[in-house]
């Protein structure tokens, strides 16, 4: 501490001084300006905000719609107990099967994505994928190998950016027109998109991992991938699992919606009953939602255990 603060004036002067010294970034300020102008523009340019329908008409639509959400048997009899056989019928008819398929597609996709990302991680790591990992010489490196190690990291990381940049719905839509209407397009679309996301999330965990064991292993003559597999991976395993389950949850939600392209997950049932049987559609929406809420509680418990 240089100098002792004595009077309130000194205090204020010190506050001013600290304020002047705070870190300032023109880039962050510019970003804030861009974001705020983006928001203002978004609202100003969205006219008419509520669409072109007259207000009374819109209100009537909303009322009709809400009324149609009530299960048909209940609307006829006025008894909510009639909703049970109706719901059971929907479940056993296709609901359970769709739910099972949703889970299966999400699980297959996230496992596929994880399996594909794992071997790419040492290649994407900023400290491993270079001519001199951790600043240590890795024996003799020819000019070609040196070029490979200079290019591979940015390339793999850019690959991750690309694969997560296209929305999974769009990938599935395009793949269905190539591979036909079967589950591969759905699984592949989810896997490709999540490959990029897991690559980024797991990649960050690897970058932030403790270096010491890896440096020792590498200095003792292990190669890059075996250093990764034997010293880095075990240390970050639990964090990897946390991200894995987080993405799995998201996959379940996305797999539901991808069914809207015509494959039997809840999304297909939702899309088919849309417009004719709003009550059924709402039932499937609630079914999907409740599964996610249960999954959420489950993963909360799992995460607490892994931490």
């Amino acid at each position: 501490m240089s100098g002792t603060v004595t009077s309130p004036d000194d205090c204020l002067a010190r506050v001013d001084e600290l304020k002047r010294q705070r870190a300032r970034s023109p880039f962050l300020r510019l970003s804030a300006v861009v974001v705020v102008s983006g928001i203002v523009w978004a609202w100003l340019s969205s006219t008419p905000l509520l669409g072109r329908l007259p207000a009374e008409r819109r209100w009537l639509n909303v009322k009709n719609f809400l009324n149609e959400l009530v299960p048909a048997p209940v609307r006829q009899s006025g008894e909510w107990s009639d909703a049970l056989p109706w719901a059971w019928n929907l479940l056993t008819d296709e609901g359970f099967l769709a739910l099972l398929m949703t889970f299966a597609a999400a699980t297959a996709a996230i496992i596929l994505a994880g399996t594909l990302v794992l071997p790419l991680l040492p290649l994407a790591s900023r400290r491993l994928a270079r001519v001199d990992p951790f600043g240590l010489r890795a024996g003799k490196t020819g000019p070609l190998a040196a070029m490979f190690w200079r290019m591979i990291g940015p390339l793999v990381r850019f690959g991750f950016v690309l694969s997560r940049s296209v929305p999974e719905y769009l990938i599935a839509f395009l793949l269905i027109s190539m591979l036909g209407l079967q589950f591969w397009p759905l699984v592949l679309a989810l896997a490709i998109h999540n490959l990029g996301i897991l690559g980024r999330l797991w990649g960050e965990v690897v970058e932030n991992a403790d270096d010491a064991p890896a440096v020792r292993a590498f200095a003792a003559g292990q190669g890059r991938s075996s250093t990764f597999a034997t010293t880095i991976l075990p240390g970050v395993f639990n964090r990897f699992l946390i991200y894995f389950f987080y993405r799995w949850e998201t996959c379940v939600k996305d797999a539901t919606v991808l069914g809207m392209l015509g494959l039997l997950t809840l999304g297909k049932l939702i899309a088919l009953s849309k417009g004719f049987f709003w009550d059924q559609m709402f039932f499937y929406v609630l079914l999907g939602g409740s599964v996610i809420v249960v999954g959420d509680l489950f993963s909360m418990a799992l995460r607490r255990w892994l931490r």
Binding site: S25, F27, L28, S31, V35, G38, I39, A42, S46, T47, P48, L50, G51, R58, N61, L66, A105, T107, A108, I111, L112, V161, R164, S165, V166, P167, Y169, L170, F173, L174, S177, M178, L179, G180, Q182, F183, W184, V187, R200, E204, F237, N238, Y243, Y246, K253, D254, T256, M260, G267, K274, G275, W278, V285, G288, G289, I292, V293, L297, R303, W305
Partner: protein
């Protein structure tokens, strides 16, 4: 000790378990290696045409019936990008404030100490109800919210924005509450000790410190909102997704690629922008472990 052996056991069996799970799922879904290639000549032809078009994106409309005075295709694409950005900005401007309120209610860092039994019970129930509420609104996918809103209110910009904003407020709110609870409590405890109320403690002692993490996570969700906004085109809201679907329906693959390149460019730019912001705020995307 028991938990430790459990974790090591888990580590050992996770790999095997995942392989079994994959095989079971693949069987349930009817996935075969043969399914990875186009099933017949028609599909092969389409696939070939689609990828050939990647090298030759359209600079003019493939549809000859487009009138001459229509916007050139690249301009239409850029307009599509801006429409996509518009929904993402609009939705996030609704979602972030909502999420701040929900995140406040769903966190415990600001609770007064000491706190009477009844007050504590009340705070606890507010905490649980807001957490459950966040879980429910994010359990329904934005496309489904969009379907519901469009059916109820008709096509309108507001319907699209609210549809995106609802699940995003749920996700943001949950992560916000976790960020708030994980911040160091020294400042807030000092404030409480000299008599600050809970809201003051939150605004002065907790929020400024959590700000860098809140900002970076919000920006990460903005990237997600952009992707979702593009997909809203598939349920009839005018974003670039709608143009892709329409061109694809007519087999105008070169037009599809023009739009695809624009989508990819938009998202890559925002992704890099977000990474630069995180670097300057010294935060990571770690917050997305919701």
């Amino acid at each position: 000790m028991k938990a430790d052996t459990g974790k090591y056991g888990l580590k050992r069996w996770v790999g095997a378990g995942l392989i079994v799970a994959f095989v079971l799922c693949a069987r349930a879904l009817g996935l075969t290696p043969g399914g990875l290639i186009p099933p017949d000549a028609g599909h092969w032809e389409r696939t070939g045409a689609f990828f050939a078009a990647a090298l030759d994106p359209a600079f003019d409309y493939e549809d000859e019936n487009v009138p001459d005075e229509a916007d050139p295709i690249w301009w239409k694409g850029i307009k599509g990008v801006f429409l996509t950005l518009k929904f993402a900005f609009g939705a996030m401007s609704l979602a972030v404030p909502t999420a701040l309120v929900l995140g406040f209610l769903g966190s415990s860092a600001w609770w007064p100490e000491p706190c009477g039994r009844r007050a504590r019970a009340l705070l606890r129930s507010v905490y649980l109800v807001s957490r459950l509420f966040m879980s429910v609104i994010r359990s329904i996918h934005e496309l489904i919210w969009a379907l519901l809103f469009l059916s109820a209110m008709g096509v309108s910009p507001l319907a699209g924005m609210i549809a995106l904003a609802l699940p995003f407020s749920g996700t943001l709110g949950k992560v916000f509450s976790e960020i708030i609870d994980e911040e160091a409590r020294d400042a807030s405890q000092a404030l409480k000790a000299i008599g600050h109320g809970p809201v003051q403690t939150f605004l002065v002692g907790i929020l400024p410190r959590a700000m860098p993490n809140l900002v970076s996570y919000s920006f990460y969700r903005f990237e997600c909102a952009l992707r979702s906004s593009a997909v809203l085109g598939f349920v009839g809201i005018e974003t670039i997704g709608l143009y892709i679907e329409l061109s694809h329906e007519e087999f105008y693959y070169r037009e599809v690629w023009t739009y695809l390149y624009l989508v990819i460019a938009m998202i890559v730019v925002v992704d890099l922008w977000g990474a630069a912001i995180r670097r300057r705020l010294h935060t990571s995307t770690g917050g997305c472990a919701i």
